[in-house]
């Protein structure tokens, strides 16, 4: 039916394997940025400084309502006009990290808001500092309810990495394109890319749930 060539498939597999590694690094790097920056954005939106709160809220809204691919182009092509010259890898991870930090900040906000008011009052009654209150009491309790959302965005960031191919990051999609145009064959590389994405995405939902249960247990909250 299809003109599927097994020998070609095996020939390109190692190259796609390396590209998978790059994809995972790009997703992981972007996610690491998003996790930290997202928390900073969430906390900034809760700060008592109204100007800061307002600016951050608008920025988050802006990032969420513009396409990721535009943001990637922006960082990579417009950055140099302001003297910020970054490699495709760095620009890509920054853009994707920034994009997802906006979404993660909302997840964190939801988690933080789910912590009962009495916990804040207990912290106050012990004269705890704001940072101890957040990092020792509130965030550990905000984490379990946020984990499902955080996991979804991890899968999301992974599936969005092909967009980095537009600025030449050698991830899976970029490799598949290159293989295709070198050999004038697209069926095998694209199919393999699809299978690889599926093989990584599918089990992650289950893994995230298991991880969530483990965290709850660790925190004595189950």
């Amino acid at each position: 039916m299809f003109d599927w060539k097994w020998d070609f498939t095996f020939e390109i597999l190692p190259r796609l394997g390396w590209a998978t590694l790059n994809t995972l690094i790009a997703a992981g790097g972007g996610y690491a940025i998003a996790i930290v920056l997202g928390l900073a954005l969430a906390l900034a939106q809760r700060s008592p400084y109204r100007a800061l709160t307002l600016v951050v809220r608008e920025a988050v809204e802006f990032i969420r309502s513009t396409p990721l691919v535009l943001q990637i182009f922006f960082v990579f092509y417009v950055g140099p006009q302001f003297g910020i010259r970054l490699s495709p890898w760095t620009s890509g991870m920054i853009a994707i990290g920034l994009h997802y930090s906006a979404y993660l900040s909302e997840v964190y906000r939801g988690g933080i808001e789910s912590v009962p008011k009495g916990q804040w009052e207990a912290c106050r009654s012990l004269s705890m500092s704001t940072s101890d209150t957040y990092f020792r009491i509130i965030i550990p309790q905000a984490l379990p309810p946020a984990l499902a959302g955080m996991g979804n965005y991890l899968v999301g960031i992974f599936k969005d990495t092909p967009m980095l191919s537009v600025i030449g990051v050698a991830e899976l999609m970029h490799a598949a394109n290159a293989i295709g145009s070198e050999h004038y064959r697209f069926l095998e590389p694209y199919t393999l890319v699809g299978i690889i994405f599926l093989a990584i995405s599918l089990p992650s939902a289950g893994l995230i749930r298991t991880f969530e249960a483990w965290v709850r247990k660790r925190l004595g909250m189950s």
């Binding site: 009495g118 916990q119 009052e121 207990a122 012990l126 004269s127 500092s129 101890d132 004595g220 909250m221």
Partner: protein
Amino acid sequence: MEDYSNYPLQLDATDRPMVRFQNVTKRYGALTVLDNLNLDVAEGEMISIIGPSGSGKTTVLRMLMLERIQGGVIYVDGTPLTHEAKGGKLVEASERYLRKAREPIGMCFQHFNLFPHFTALQNCMEGPVQVLGLSKKEARERSEELLEMVGMIDKKDQHPSRLSGGQQQRVAIARALAMRPKVMLLDEVTSALDPEVIGEVTEVIKKLVKEHNLTIMMVTHQMGFAADISDRVCFFYGGRIEEQGPPKELFGNPQKERTQQFLSAVKSAD
């Protein structure tokens, strides 16, 4: 703007209650909850605050611990709590100042508010280690002593979710005491408990009154308990102290009509 020049920067040694509310007003938006409240609580005194729901009892305690006021000044141990002296005048306290000034105050809540991700012992050690800067060893010794006192030493490694309401409240009392407060605020600490475990918490409070030189302000609906252990009972009505006095007098021979009505309503509900 209120003129604070009439308020002393520091209370005189001869006239120094542990807690003083001076002309304190608290509003939520347009709603005035506390109306020009004046109340002194002496060192070592145990006062009970009673009154109908919504009369401002909880608010009185919250002013000392959790919220800002819109008028007047609160002093604790002679020093302003809600205000700080700047250039010889009282100005509204900064967050930093407030946090420090509130250190000698401890509070227990109706719903315990224990940290669910910490064990009973960790709950008690948190404040001493993070806020007072005690070593882990010192904090543990202090906490274990207090858990022993409230009869919870056997459960020290349990998380709150494994404890009954009465047990959680006893841990919460130990947690507050671990900060070595001078003033203890108790807001309906038995109201969320099953009737059969109320006794274990009231026993602990009795012990506190007897064995520690604490100043205690307790909001309660348990009139018998209040009569038993208070030096003074304040009856709140509409954000004001309608009547106050030693429990014998207030319960035995209330002067104001509203007090009489409230007490007979409570009695018939029991």
